[in-house]
């Protein structure tokens, strides 16, 4: 198990190479000793193969997401679990494009990714996963993840700090006077439905108490948005990058998170 004092953790790249490059540069400026990615490398964005060299060149340690799991084996769908036919339409377009534009070598690499990673950050045991430690596509939203569930997950999985992504919106919970922590690190592939195009990652430092900072990163989102249009992907995906408001895949948002968005 590797040991660190300061790490950067990011989620949901969604084939947004421009955002990923900006986040990796920012993490380096913040003296992160290691960078971890909690999965979902493809989806929504253009040219999925462009994110793989960035991850390798920066020695990013990646956890497998549900999208990666599906793309690796060419599954029938992304296993996002939508029932809304509009969300399913967008998910199908995005997934079909991603599978078709991910090389066989990169798909084979996705198949090798671990479902979880454990590290030590100072004295803290840290467990990293995609959705939740018990299910790769479980949505841990801030407003639907009670303290009792977090305590159960932390105990069952023998960790002090739980890191996840999958929802697209960051949050953090401190439990039991700082003895335990849960952090959803958000995603870097699209904004978090807050009306700005910036994306977020998390910087965790053992001080020795755990310090968690969410770091906003601006990047040239217009480049990605134009590439989405050129590739013939839905214009709604480009609109989200430009405006910061989610336009699709809203079905799973609980009321509290949905109320904050425009749509």
């Amino acid at each position: 198990m590797s040991e660190h004092r300061r790490i950067a953790v990011l989620g949901g790249v969604y084939a947004n190479a421009e955002a990923l490059a900006a986040v990796l540069a920012d993490a380096r400026r913040h003296d992160a000793e290691a960078v971890f990615c909690l999965g979902d490398l493809g989806g929504f964005g253009p040219h999925p193969d462009r994110v793989f060299p960035l991850l390798r060149d920066h020695h990013v340690r990646v956890v497998r997401g549900n999208y990666d799991e599906a793309v690796a084996v060419g599954a029938a769908d992304c296993n996002c679990g939508y029932t809304d036919p509009r969300d399913n339409h967008y998910a199908r377009v995005s997934y079909t494009y991603t599978v078709a534009h991910t090389s066989a070598a990169n798909r084979a690499w996705l198949a090798t990714l671990p479902g979880q990673r454990r590290i030590r950050l100072g004295a803290h045991r840290v467990l990293m996963c995609h959705g939740s430690p018990r299910r790769i596509n479980e949505f841990l939203w801030e407003s639907t993840t009670p303290d009792g569930l977090l305590r159960r997950l932390l105990t069952d999985h023998e960790t002090d700090v739980l890191l996840c992504t999958h929802t697209g919106i960051k949050w953090r919970r401190v439990l039991d006077g700082g003895a335990a922590h849960a952090v959803n690190v958000g995603v870097v592939g699209r904004p978090e439905n807050d009306g700005t195009p910036r994306v977020w990652y998390a910087l965790l430092t053992a001080e020795p108490d755990l310090d968690v900072q969410f770091v906003p990163v601006a990047y040239d989102h217009e480049v990605t948005a134009r590439a989405i249009e050129i590739e013939g992907l839905p214009p709604e995906f480009a609109e989200t990058l430009r405006t910061g408001w989610w336009t699709t895949c809203l079905e799973n948002l609980p009321s509290r998170e949905r109320a904050r968005g425009r749509f």
Partner: protein, 288 residues
């Protein structure tokens, strides 16, 4: 207290994975409506499944909290007929995200104000699911009763005006491919900026019970991940026991304990024709 009946030993089982969803069958089968497809044959007559008293509901919530429950659902019958609905909702929302399933015909402005206050005070989401079975009044009222469409639509407006973002839940009585879009169009036509729609299949149970011999077998489930069935992560607490899911609440063969939630966290028999619907459609009674 009656004993748990033994079910058909040949029925396949769903494993128990975790208590993600706790359902409280709050008013049993007591309802002001008598919908033609109601899956537990609720109505205004003497309920065949009694309401859950407040103390029993609070015990179940506390037990579920200890077990790491993720979300709580309140159903019936019509849960807003329960005399303790507001304090029970407050208790639920102190524990987890909570959803109330309502027919939308008994909502008052004062009750909607109380719900909005509860939602603002909680760190967890409050969801209200309002049932409609057709986007037009005539078709809906044929199933749910005269005047129900108008009252439910008023409730949708009243909740939306308070920022509660109701989820319109429809049973797919027609089975048309554009059902979802028609409901969405209804909501946007009402001026709802964030339309939310959930479609459920008709379950062959309760008043919609079909004369069907269809049952699941282990052979049907070969290669199928049984942990994706909602009964792998759900338990429903009713006045007379704990059940594998809300659809089968009150049916003796689905009872897993006489009231002890922890004792009901064990594999559930997939013995009912409704289990075939869950398996075939991938349906969940949960919000998503």
């Amino acid at each position: 207290m009656s004993a748990v009946r033994h079910h058909d030993v040949a029925a396949p089982r769903a494993p128990f994975v975790a208590l993600s969803a706790l359902w409280l069958v709050l008013t049993g089968t007591l309802c002001n409506l008598r919908c033609t497809h109601c899956l537990n044959a609720s109505g205004p007559d003497e309920p065949w499944l009694a309401p859950l008293d407040g103390a029993a509901a609070r015990r179940a919530i506390a037990d579920a909290e200890r077990l790491g429950v993720r979300e709580i659902y309140l159903t019936g019958g019509e849960p807003f007929l329960h005399r303790e609905i507001v304090p029970l909702l407050e208790r639920c929302l102190a524990t987890a995200a909570t959803t109330v399933l309502t027919n939308g015909t008994v909502m008052t402005d004062a009750l909607a104000d109380a719900l909005a206050t509860l939602a603002r005070a909680s760190r967890y989401s409050l969801e209200v699911r309002v049932s409609l079975d057709a986007p037009d009044a005539e078709a809906n009222d044929r199933v749910r009763g005269a005047g129900t469409w108008q009252r439910a639509v008023r409730t949708i407006r009243v909740l939306d005006a308070r920022g509660l973002l109701p989820i319109v839940t429809a049973t797919d009585i027609v089975g048309a491919p554009d059902t979802y879009d028609r409901f969405r169009a209804l909501l946007t036509g009402l001026g709802i900026a964030k339309p939310r729609v959930k479609i459920l299949p008709v379950f062959p149970v309760g008043r919609a019970m079909a004369a069907s011999d269809s049952r699941l077998s282990d052979a049907d489930l070969e290669g199928f991940d049984r942990t994706t069935l909602q009964c792998a992560e759900t338990r429903a607490v009713a006045a007379d026991g704990v059940y594998a899911c809300p659809i089968l609440a009150g049916l003796p063969e689905a009872r897993l304990s006489n009231g002890d939630l922890a004792a009901a966290l064990r594999p559930a028999p997939l013995y009912h024709a409704a289990c075939v619907t869950c398996h075939r459609t991938g349906a969940t009674c949960r919000n998503a």
